[in-house]
Amino acid sequence: MYRKQVRRRRAVLALLVVSGFVLLTITYGRGSNGLQSGVSAVFSPVESVSDRALKPARDLVNWFDKTFDARGENSKLHTELEAARELGVGAQAAIAENRELRKLLKLDEGGAIPSGYTPVTGQVIARSSTEWTSDVMIDAGSGDGVKVGDPVVNGDGLVGSVTAATGSSAKVTLIADHSSGVSAKVVPGGNQGVIKPSLGDPGDLILDFIDSTKRVGVGQAVVTAGWSSRGIASGYPPNLPIGEVTDAPLIEQEAEQQVHVRPYADLRNLDLVQVLTGGWRG
């Protein structure tokens, strides 16, 4: 009797392990499948309700997190204030530069929507649970015109792109996810490279493969490059704000330089986003 029970348990365990590997093999690298679409259709309304109901509690916990942060930053800000006073004159120039950049980026008053794209607003309803992936689910899907590959922004700048869509929801892979890569340029100057994340630290992106002969300075803005060539094009339209350069170490004898970029968008705390549907893709 006991042996039979042990054999049955082993069989169940083996079945689960094999099923896990088979599912992984079948579904890896593909978008949504029938099972996911079905589950998503059933649970999307529940997630939306749960998201709204839990918002006050979420805000309370996040308020504690921001308060801890603010206390730590207080002394740092005092030091920075002294330095900022000395740089007052420089700041005036920076304001002028900022106006110029705004013109360059064609930012409209409400956000950063390039012409030819139709924004679809979506609310973040779920988020991946591990540090190893940076995905969010939004409550707008293919039924709203959202397609795989559409860029996603919020009021601060580029957030990511749609990597899977069901009728009522879509998966947005953030620019902090290890699978993300965005062709970007530094403005002013136009030095181009690829924005890659530093896995586990969504507040620090790395702009890689940029020409080290062109100097990049701390505080310069980084925007999407939005290139197109012979019928193929970047998935992102040009001049979407991504972030600002926080560290630009110049390593001698290296043809290519890496600079650190802090994203404008708070990728840990997203609520409302806009999917840029339509537009030219080459």
């Binding site: 348990r9 169940v12 365990l13 689960l16 392990v17 099923s19 896990g20 590997f21 088979v22 599912l23 992984l24 093999t25 079948i26 579904t27 690298g29 593909r30 499948n33 099972l35 996911q36 589950v39 998503s40 649970f43 529940v46 997630e47 749960s50 998201d51 839990l54 509690a57 979420r58 916990v61 996040n62 504690f64 997190d65 801890f68 973040v124 309803i125 779920a126 988020r127 991946s128 649970s129 591990t130 540090e131 190893w132 992936t133 995905d135 689910m137 990597t163 899977a164 998966k171 290890h178 699978s179 890569g181 890659k196 530093s198 896995l199 586990g200 630290d201 620090d204 790395i206 840990r268």
Partner: protein, 182 residues
């Protein structure tokens, strides 16, 4: 664990509510820049109370639902949470839980194991970017969160599944007998 239809319904409800709470609440709040992960804590609690099969099947189901809701490749989360639940259940079958501190400690350790598992799956599937040392810090902080959150989760699950839990006969024998008419 004695599985009756009522207990099965409670198990399903626990897994569904656990996954929904994780993706809509716990993943979206942060303390010290780290979001708690309560799914390993829930699965470990089920394993510690229900045994290896309950832990393995619950873990597999929770992982599958999680991957479905996040439109992620199916199977990765299931394998990790199934392994976590199975090992927690195996612990329960091999050793006796004598201290009240043991469940939260085990939940913290198994959460670390699960986070390493999630990382191993991602690395096996291919990671195209550099990995920040902060990942290690985040995993450790998640384990600390799991210690504190694991306690109420374990007690809640125990209370909900009490009629189905098979208690250790030795512990039952050690109880004070009920005196009729006292």
């Amino acid at each position: 664990m004695i599985l009756t239809p009522k207990i099965l319904a409670r198990l399903v409800a626990l897994v569904v509510i656990g996954v929904l709470l994780q993706v809509t609440f716990f993943s979206r709040v942060a303390l010290f820049h780290v979001s708690p992960d309560v799914l390993p804590a829930l699965i470990v609690s089920l394993g510690l109370l229900g045994g290896s099969m309950t832990g393995a099947v619950s873990g597999f189901s929770a992982g599958l639902l999680l991957n479905c809701l996040l439109i992620a490749p199916l199977g990765g989360g299931s394998l990790v949470l199934m392994g976590t639940g199975y090992l927690a259940g195996l612990f329960r079958e091999r050793f006796e839980i004598t201290s009240r501190l043991l469940p939260p400690i085990l939940i913290a350790l198994f959460t670390l194991f699960a986070e390493l598992g999630f990382g191993a799956v991602e690395l096996a599937l291919g990671v195209d970017s550099s990995i920040s040392a902060l990942v290690v810090r985040d995993m450790l902080v998640k384990s600390v969160f799991a210690f504190f959150l694991g306690w109420p989760i374990y007690l809640g699950v125990k209370r909900l599944l009490r009629p189905a839990i098979v208690e250790d006969p030795e512990r039952r024998r050690g109880r004070r007998p009920t005196v009729v008419g006292a």
